[in-house]
C-alpha cells in the first residue's frame, strides 16, 4: 500500500467520526504521499475538537451538516478518490449514501456496516462497498484460534510494510513495455520469486464494464 503510485491528487472524504474512523484515518495517513489529503466532515465542533489528527497538514476538518453537500462539494468532494461513510447506525448510513449518490453519482463509496444482512441492500441501493467490521474481526479472531501463525501473517499483510521484515500485498499496473507484459502467468509466478524474492499472488484484468479476477491459475 505504501509504495503504490497515487494519482496527482488523492482525496479521501470521511463522513462522521468515531473510534473506528480514527483507526482508518491513522492507516490512511500512514500511507499518504505528498499529493494526498483527507477531508473529515463532522456535525459538531465538539466532535471536531476530539479529532487527534486535526493538526496534520493533510487533514481538513469541516463542521457542517452531513447533508450540506454544497459545502462538502466546495472542499473538492466531487473529485474524491474514495468516500468513507461512518455514521452511527446502518439505517442512517443507507439513507445517506442514497442521497450522496444523487449529488455525486461517480463517487467510490466505502461503508463499514454493523448488520451483515444489509450488505446486498447497500450494494443494490447505492452501489457502495459495504464491509462488516464485526465479520472481518470475527474471521480474524477465529483464525487466531485455529491458525495462530496464519492470523499473525495476515495481520502483517494487511499493514503497510515499514521494515525489511514486514510484508505487504500490493497491486501493480502493467504498462505496455513492462518486462512482464505478454508473459505467461505461470512464468510470472516463478520469475519475481527467483529474481527479487516477490510472490505473484493474483492477476486482475480490466474490461470496459467490469473487473475480472483471475485466480491463481497456472494454466492461464
Amino acid at each position: 500500500m505504501r509504495q503504490m503510485t497515487i494519482p496527482e491528487r488523492f482525496l479521501v472524504v470521511m463522513i462522521g467520526w468515531d473510534h473506528f474512523a480514527a483507526s482508518v484515518a491513522g492507516e490512511l495517513l500512514f500511507a499518504f504521499t505528498q499529493n494526498s489529503s483527507m477531508l473529515i466532515v463532522v456535525a459538531s465542533e465538539e466532535i471536531a475538537s476530539s479529532i487527534e489528527c486535526r493538526g496534520h497538514k493533510a487533514v481538513d476538518v469541516v463542521v457542517t451538516s452531513y447533508t450540506d453537500f454544497e459545502t462538502i462539494e466546495e472542499r473538492g468532494a466531487r473529485d474524491a478518490s474514495a468516500v468513507v461513510v461512518n455514521m452511527a447506525d446502518d439505517r442512517e448510513k443507507l439513507i445517506y449514501v442514497v442521497n450522496w449518490r444523487k449529488v455525486f453519482p461517480n463517487s467510490r463509496l466505502l461503508v463499514p456496516i454493523d448488520n451483515t444482512s444489509l450488505t446486498k441492500t447497500f450494494i443494490t441501493a447505492a452501489e457502495v462497498l459495504p464491509l462488516s467490521r464485526d465479520e472481518v474481526s470475527a474471521k480474524i479472531f477465529a483464525s487466531y484460534l485455529f491458525e495462530f501463525d496464519v492470523a499473525t501473517y495476515l495481520f502483517d499483510l494487511l499493514t503497510p510494510a515499514q521494515t525489511d521484515d514486514d510484508y505487504d500485498i500490493q497491486q501493480h499496473l502493467l504498462h505496455a513495455g513492462n518486462g512482464f507484459c505478454g508473459m505467461a502467468y505461470s512464468v510470472l509466478v516463478s520469475l519475481p520469486r527467483e529474481t527479487v524474492g516477490l510472490i505473484t499472488e493474483r492477476l486482475c484484468r480490466n474490461t470496459i464494464s467490469e473487473q475480472n479476477y483471475f485466480g491463481n491459475d497456472c494454466e492461464r
Binding site: E27, L131, S143, L157, E201, G215
Partner: protein, 175 residues
Amino acid sequence: MAIITDTRDDIDFLAEEFDKREVYTLFSNFRSMEVLENANLVEAKMCSSKLIASYVFEPLVAKFAEDLIASAVHSDDFDIQQFMVLESNPYCGESYDSTFFDLKAKFDGILIGLVTWENGERVLLKNPDSPELIIRKGDYLIIVVNGSNADLIADEFGINEGTHSDLEPMTREAV
C-alpha cells in the same frame, strides 16, 4: 468454546441453547483492554480498519485480502492455511525453494511462509529467500490455497490444516 460476555441475559441464553460440556461461559467485562489484548481481539478489530484503508488505496488488494481472510469453500475462493510437516510429508527434508515451485506446479498452491523452531522459540519466516532453508518435521508450511486444492494438500501431507500444539517439537519430542 469459551464465550466471554458482560450481559447476564447472555449467560442464561447460552445455558439454554448449548451443551455445557461444549460451550463455557465467562461473565466478565470484555471491553477491558487487558482482556481484549489477552484474547487477540484488539488485533482482530484493527483488521477491519486496515481493510477499509486498503480498499481506499488498492481496492483489488483489499478484495483479495478479504477473500484470504474467509475460509475457501469453492475453487475460486482463496484462503491461507498452515500445515504441520510430519516425517512422512514428501517435502520433509526438501529445500523451501524447491517446495515453493513444486507446490505451485502440483497443487497450484502458493507457499508464502514457514514456521520453525529456533532455540526453543517459535519463529515465523515470511517468504524466506534463503536457498539453504530446509523443511524439517514439526515445521508448519503456510500456503495460499483454494477450495479445490486444500484437501489435496492435506491428503498429501497426511494431516489437516491448523495448529497441532500437541505435536509441536516444543511440547512433544516425537512428531
